[in-house]
């Protein structure tokens, strides 16, 4: 069930309480990812089959897609994967502070990716006229990338909860009593911060895509997004305040496996994107 040793040095590649030495959670995650491969196989097959036989008057993806933005978000997702990997190494070495920072960065990158995707969808719908219910391309494209986006969103939520959880006070910490309500507040603030970030990212991308120069873009951006930017900054301030140290916490090396399995999920979402990026976007440009 759970590992007995909580303080002694932990070998992160061997859990003596299981038959194989692989921690249960890790095994669960790998099995789930094997299953998730099949989910995406079904979705990608659907998309590709319909790309193989597009309806005669269907949309041309080359007209719809905008490769720059997608390349950018691909890059961001790769970087988030890097941060995730660093978070895992950090907690494995017991470096809680570094782990938290890496988690936050991962979350942040994840939000940028989501922001780009939301922007992309909105752009495709309103500017390029591709809706989920007006073309087969829209149908399969939005469903496939949307499912991936949902995976990212769930990942972000998971990361956020893990981040907040890392403040759970250890047994004996007097703060433990009031922690529960504090924890709720923390979650809510983080979610608000994330949503505002999303809004701001959207605004920024929009500005960059519509304005000819960087200066104009920034002007546009600050003009329209000022309130949200301010709100986001306040929320971040709140997060920093909520995260002030309050005695020993119940989150340490022993929790590395939690972070690690979450990381596996996150990386998987990343590699699915690697496939989607090639199969859905790049192949269209040949």
């Amino acid at each position: 069930m759970s590992s007995h040793a909580a303080t002694a040095t932990i070998d992160h590649h061997h859990d003596p309480s299981t038959s194989t030495g692989i921690p249960n959670k890790k095994l669960l995650m790998w099995a789930f990812l094997a299953s998730d491969c099949m989910f995406f196989a079904a979705l990608i097959s659907t998309h590709l089959i319909y790309r193989l036989h597009p309806p005669a008057d269907g949309l041309d993806p080359k007209v719809v897609f905008s490769p720059e933005l997608t390349s950018f978000s691909t890059f961001i997702l790769l970087m988030s994967s890097l941060m995730m990997a660093l978070a895992v190494t950090a907690i494995q070495k017991g470096n809680l502070k570094s782990c938290r920072w890496s988690l936050l960065t991962t979350i942040f990158f994840g939000m940028i990716f989501l922001g780009c995707q939301v922007y992309e969808f909105e752009h495709f719908v309103h500017q390029r006229g591709m809706k989920i219910n007006n073309s087969l391309l829209g149908t399969t494209f939005y469903t496939l990338t949307g499912t991936h986006g949902t995976h990212v969103a769930i990942g972000v939520l998971w990361l956020s909860l893990m981040y907040v959880r890392s403040f759970k006070p250890a047994a004996g910490n007097p703060w433990a009593k009031s922690w529960f309500s504090h924890n709720l507040l923390h979650v809510v603030t983080l979610l608000i911060a994330l949503l505002l970030t999303l809004k701001v990212v959207l605004g920024l991308v929009h500005a960059i895509q519509t304005e000819p120069t960087v200066g104009a873009a920034l002007g546009h951006f600050f003009g329209s997004e000022f309130i949200f930017l301010a709100g986001a900054l306040i929320a971040y301030g709140g997060l920093v305040w909520l995260a002030r140290p309050r005695g020993p916490v119940a989150f340490n090396e022993a929790n590395a496996i939690d972070v690690e399995s979450m990381g596996l999920y996150w990386h998987f979402v990343d590699i699915v994107w690697i496939v989607i990026f090639t199969a859905v976007y790049l192949l269209e440009y040949l």
Partner: protein, 658 residues
């Protein structure tokens, strides 16, 4: 439920933990709350079995209505609509709410005992699977109780071929129930299977190497793999249908370029592994029963295991044999035809090895053994008609005829169901500490056996004589009257047999005579336990020295005693027996899923305020689920410890968090 009542030491007052109210662990050991919050794999297994048998009776009742309608030509007992609903629900119910959960009941109850574990790897995930399965069952059946003009129970056939399931052809909500119901069942099955995979791979007792696992455990493992790898396909396919119905997408919509045949591929990529999901657990059970009652190890254990895995994975390469008549072209047809035939080889290997197990044995003809032998015979016949289907040209005549109905009822009833009924009899003494009457057990077997054959054997002839399936009526001039009449009478006999079976079981459950420990002179670890097994299963985790671990222990008593005493000390030094806390949160999460699924499937988006209500309720469901999962994750891996003396009496019990 006295038989399942827990020993007295579990009714202690809990220490009040210094935690906010919401995080206090439920401590009820009896009553409704204890069942809703249980994380004990045995209780969860029991609940799976209870619901499965209930739905099996419902599905059987539907079958009897079907048969009654077909008893005579041009019968008008049922309308076409009702009939179509009945066969759809009969198939769906039997497969997803009858046989699969009944198998899951055994996985839950027996598998951890057989590998010498105290629980599954993720007890609360297990509870979540159970309740999500119940939620799915509710959604599937909810249509019966709503107006049939706008709602109604599903009526698109159990494989719901597009585009019949589209809004255009079936505008009412019946299909939405089918989609969302199956979706929840998929979530439940995948979650449960992931749990079983981790449990089997990681929670084995020391010495229980993979090649010492009981065959039933192996089949659980293979089945679980099949589930996690095949359900995604139907999940995505169902998502696509749902999108088509709710958001006007074009996945299977011809006017937008969609290809309905894609649904068939996505469905059968799932559908064929699914039929092995239905049979492998039964094969596992039979592979336990035959050795026990032959008093001899399973013949050719490694090859039986290997062929099981082989069947499982070959099963992914044959799906298009359900589509021989969809005009796939010669090459594809030939390829799938040959691949399908190939499956007969590993399956045959199992049959041969079962016979090998009997050979030179001392066969004890007890009820479980009768069902197990019935399984071998009937499954063989069903398998042979499967091979006839696999020859594509012959199948062009058989597909969608009663020949298929005959084939799959032979493998499903004569196979899966016989195996599961055998399993109930076999493990009954262990589960409920009661011994089922041999006489009534055998009576029920023979009535079921005869009724089954009388029902389904004539269907081969019906099919070859051109009777298509899913027809609510037929003309009297086609030569189908007599076999149909016979089949219907047979189904009544079968019904009587089932009733005898259940009455016997229920009677035994309430008043049966107490069963001795190790009632059948068993071979695997579960028989080393007292009956019913205590909540912690093993006082001391056993060390396994041989394939039939308990048989070995029985023949090496002294050595084992010594080893056990030593290990007891060691475990005590490590803090005693770790038990997980009960938890209500998995149940809450499932309730959230249920509410969300009802919102998506039962509510109209228009007229006017509809969409708001729908979104609102869906969101409510999502939030409840989220809350459930959140609190569940806050609980962490906490549990308490038990300390027992040699006789299994508590020394003291303390709570410790982990």
């Amino acid at each position: 439920m006295d038989a399942l009542a827990k020993p007295a030491y579990l009714t202690h007052e809990e220490h009040a933990p210094s935690q906010p109210k919401l995080l206090v662990h439920p401590s009820a050991k009896t009553g409704l709350m204890s069942w809703l919050t249980t994380v004990d794999h045995k209780r969860i297994g029991f609940l799976y079995g209870f619901f499965a048998l209930f739905f099996f009776l419902v599905g059987g009742f539907e079958a009897l209505l079907i048969r009654t309608q077909l008893m005579v030509p041009n019968n008008d007992l049922l309308t076409a609509q009702q009939y179509n609903t009945l066969f759809t629900m009969h198939g769906t119910t039997m497969i997803f709410l009858g046989v699969m959960p009944l198998s899951a009941a055994f996985f839950n109850f027996i598998m951890p005992l057989q590998i010498g574990a105290r629980d599954v790897a993720f007890p609360r995930l297990n509870a979540f699977s159970l309740w999500t399965f119940v939620a799915g069952a509710i959604i599937l059946n909810i249509g019966w109780f709503l107006p049939s003009a706008t709602h109604g129970a599903p009526d698109g056939g159990w494989f719901g071929y597009a585009p019949l399931t589209s809004k255009q052809f079936i505008p009412k909500h019946s299909i939405d129930y089918w989609v969302m119901g199956l979706q929840l069942l998929g979530v439940a099955s995948i979650a449960a299977s992931l749990n079983f995979i981790v449990t089997i791979i990681n929670m084995r007792a020391p010495g229980m190497t993979m090649m010492r696992l009981p065959v039933f455990v192996w089949m659980t493992l293979v089945t679980s793999f099949l589930i996690v790898l095949s359900f995604p396909f139907i999940t995505i396919a169902l998502v696509e249908v749902m999108m088509d119905r709710q958001f006007g997408t074009f996945f299977f919509e011809v006017s937008g370029g969609g290809m309905p045949v894609l649904w068939q591929h996505l469905f059968w990529v799932f559908g064929h592994p699914e039929v092995y999901i239905l049979i492998l657990p039964a094969m596992g059970i039979v592979s336990e029963i035959l050795p026990t009652f032959s008093r001899k190890p399973l013949y050719g254990y490694p090859i039986v295991v290997f062929s099981g895995a082989c069947i499982g994975f070959l099963g992914f390469a044959v799906w298009s044999h359900h589509m021989f008549t969809t005009g796939m072209g010669t090459v594809a047809t030939a390829a799938f035809s040959l691949a399908t035939m190939a499956i007969a080889v590993p399956t045959g290997v199992k049959i041969f090895n079962w016979i090998g197990t009997l050979w030179n044995g001392h066969l004890q003809m007890r009820t479980p053994m009768m069902f197990a032998l019935g399984f071998v015979w009937m499954f063989m016949i069903g398998g042979f008609s499967g091979v006839m289907h696999s020859a594509a040209p012959a199948d062009a005549q058989q597909q969608d005829s009663y020949f298929v109905i005959a084939h799959f009822h032979y493998v499903l009833i004569g196979g899966s169901l016989f195996g599961l009924l055998a399993g109930i009899h076999y493990w009954f003494p262990l589960m409920f500490a009661r011994q089922v009457s041999e006489f009534w057990g055998k009576v029920s077997f023979w009535v079921i056996f005869v009724g089954f054959n009388v029902t389904f054997f004539p269907m081969h002839f019906l099919g070859l004589n051109g009777m298509p399936r899913r027809t609510f009526t037929y003309d009297p001039n086609l030569g189908w009257n007599v076999p149909n009449m016979i089949a219907t009478i047979g189904s009544y006999i079968l019904g009587v047999g089932i009733v005898i079976y259940f009455v016997t079981i229920i009677y035994t459950f309430i008043k049966g005579k107490r069963a001795a420990r190790d009632a059948w002179d068993g071979r695997t670890l579960e028989w080393s336990l007292p009956n019913p097994p205590p909540e912690y299963n093993f006082r001391v985790i056993p060390t396994v020295h041989a394939r039939d671990a308990w048989w070995y222990e029985k023949h090496h008593r002294e050595e084992i005693e010594k080893e056990r005493a030593l290990h007891a000390k060691e475990e005590e030094a490590h803090g005693g027996i770790h038990m997980p806390f009960a938890s209500i949160w998995p149940f809450v999460a499932s309730c959230g899923l249920l509410i969300g699924a009802i919102a998506v499937s039962a509510l109209d988006s228009n007229p006017a305020p509809g969409i708001h209500l729908k979104l609102g309720l869906a969101l409510t469901g999502a939030i409840i689920m989220f809350i459930g999962i959140y609190f569940w994750s806050l609980e962490g891996n906490e549990g308490y410890h038990l300390h027992l003396d040699e006789n299994g009496n508590p020394i003291e019990d303390s709570h410790a968090k982990h």
